[in-house]
Symmetry: C2
Subunit: 265 residues, 2 copies
């Protein structure tokens, strides 16, 4: 299991010169994958996309869509590619979770996976008339089977991440169509936070937050009063800090503002 890499050899040699001990054998070149938790709301449920594995290990187990990074591809790119391959959707909210790197998480070799989660409105997803008719399915997050590798952990972490994110970012819109009713929006919040919310308090908060724009249109459905349709006001959150080294300056500017008192040193 000591797969190595010519660049690693050279780099390690330089480092180890410094301590005069050759520990080359202690290193290995792990493989790196991305795994993507694709969330959507279907039938009033929060669901994730799973794929049935056709190879060992974990053959016939459900797993997250994922794969190896290609040359020249950023982590985000790789996640976007896999997302597109499974859902044929682009320009989707996609967020890195963290790296998962426990040594034995893949029995074949050392594999480190970078987890992502994506939010996709269910109407954007085509019926997956995909290439090889892999077995794919949308599973309710409350009824997940035991997944391959540490994918249950990745989903759990993704969901926690999403819950925290929802508290201060209007990500819920990513799971809806362009126009939506307040009731639909509330349902998404309830599914993510996994608890019922008070209708009046919810509407009060949303309407006063300024992120909603009235369309003037109504959604008529069934024999009852139609609902106002709203639209999301601001743009999609920007995750591209890494691709935009210039954005770094703004952040640092804020940090660099010196403390008001204590001009110490």
């Amino acid at each position: 299991m000591t797969a190595t890499n010519p660049f690693l050899a050279q780099i390690i040699r330089e480092r180890e010169n410094e301590s005069s001990v050759s520990r080359f054998h202690e290193y290995e070149t792990p493989l790196v994958t991305v795994d993507v938790v694709i969330f959507t709301v279907q039938d009033q449920r929060l669901k994730v996309l799973l794929i049935k594995r056709r190879h060992e290990p974990y053959i016939h187990h459900w797993a997250l869509p994922g794969g190896f990074i290609r040359s020249g591809e950023s982590l985000q790119d790789a996640a976007e590619r896999r997302l597109f391959e499974e859902t044929h959707v682009k320009d989707v909210y996609l967020q890195q979770i963290r790296a998962f790197g426990k040594p034995k998480r893949d029995p074949r070799a050392r594999v480190i996976s970078i987890g992502f989660y994506a939010l996709v409105g269910s109407t954007r997803i085509k019926p997956i008339a995909d290439s090889d008719a892999e077995d794919v399915g949308w599973y309710c997050v409350t009824e997940l089977p035991t997944l391959a590798f540490d994918h249950n952990l990745i989903i759990t972490t993704a969901l926690q991440n999403l819950q925290v994110n929802l508290e201060d970012t209007p990500v819920a819109f990513q799971l809806l169509t362009e126009k939506f009713t307040l009731t639909e929006l509330q349902k998404v919040y309830e599914l993510i936070e996994n608890k019922p919310l008070d209708k009046r308090n919810f509407r009060k908060k949303m309407l006063s937050s300024g992120i909603l724009t009235e369309t003037g249109e109504l959604k008529k459905e069934g024999r009852h009063r139609p609902a106002q349709l709203y639209r999301f006001t601001t743009g999609m959150p920007d995750d591209d800090v890494e691709e935009n080294p210039e954005a770094l300056k703004d952040v640092l500017q804020d940090i660099n503002e010196p403390m008001s008192k204590n001009g110490h040193q």
Copy 2:
């Protein structure tokens, strides 16, 4: 730059059978490192540890302590090891930030780095009479030089992460000695949040939160009134979810609680 790996070859071959196209050349095996942002408070300043590089690329530039993952080592382990090598400190608050994987972030080869940040009380750090007298230094976060690779970005991300973390976790204690005064604690908050805080409001919040225990001892210093010394009440936050697959159940249990109404489907 097409460094490959025998395991990757096999695994890709299996995958690509599925689409009948051999895209083997599009893959590479990136190298994986950890980089650790070590925060401490010295001279009323928030500082990070930097190391002067002794090899190309970025020779003589300052950089974060970091290094390659060793066989059998988790990401956290690798970060802990590097942290110990630089500071001779163990049992430190250590938190993963995220993976940094932009293709050209290292000019030599494809290197993906997992960023961590650590919080270390300044009194715990020995004067670094380290092996090879590498050039190391503590830099104020407000006065960072231009660092090697994307290390400025990693530090910025670490700091943002820490700021968010501070809002709902008492991490500030990790930067203090066991016993501390409220003024010292406030200073740490001010340094991390990078803004002055109101003394009365701060003390009110801290004392009512229940995380502080009076020691009864006083800190006498200078010709002025001595201050009460406090101690941190609860234990160190537990980051070991990944090592503890059993903990997963608790989290999922919470998530699995079905919605109260809408027993739909």
